[in-house]
């Protein structure tokens, strides 16, 4: 059984390469995808692969960090679409056979900091 860190690395490599066969092979048939920010949920491998295959834009993903333990992992990725960069954080769980059973994505957007803490922070 492949460890979940390797599975998560393969997940992003397959998505980045639009290799949907390889991508599907990492997923449990009853995988559940959840987007808490929109309260959307997708159930089942076929629908989840379709969602990714149809996702618009010439985006590319680069892994910043993966944290993994038995059955659980998290990736932090940088996703570029042309000159734009976004960051995403994704929680994974896997079953006993190592396939991904749940995927939960967060897409945090840039925002302007509130006033009042300038003496403590620097901007980068």
């Amino acid at each position: 059984m492949t460890d979940l860190r390797t599975t998560v690395e393969s997940y992003w490599a397959a998505a980045d390469a639009r290799d949907w066969e390889a991508f599907a092979s990492l997923l449990a048939e009853d995988v559940v995808y959840t987007l808490p920010q929109t309260r959307e949920r997708i159930s089942g491998r076929e629908r989840y692969v379709a969602f990714n295959r149809e996702y618009p834009g010439d985006w590319h993903a680069r892994i910043e960090r993966v944290v993994a333990e038995s059955g659980h992992a998290v990736s932090w990725i940088r996703l570029t679409v042309g000159p734009e960069e976004m960051q995403a954080v994704t929680f994974f769980t896997a079953g006993e056979d190592g396939r991904i059973t749940t995927v939960t994505d967060f897409w945090p957007e840039p925002y302007e900091p509130p006033a009042g803490r300038e003496r403590l922070v620097e901007r980068y």
Copy 2:
């Protein structure tokens, strides 16, 4: 040495209780806090404790999930302020003595899903 999962649980418990002495005891003296969404950075335990102590609002944090491995951890929390709920994802690293050396926070906001994927998703 306490494992990092326990340290992260203590971090949120101390913050929730506004126990800044306990909170500070979990941090390396040269801890660096980073907020990628605002491109803010805070360097040093004293400033980082001050930032948290001064943070406005009667917020309360509840841990949804912690994923931890040697030297790295991630928490997913639900933070309530009165009737409002937010979610946050925080990456941690720790030094050899188990104290937290870096904290990187993401605060994803709710948004409306784009049109065109309704046949694949359900809302919850």
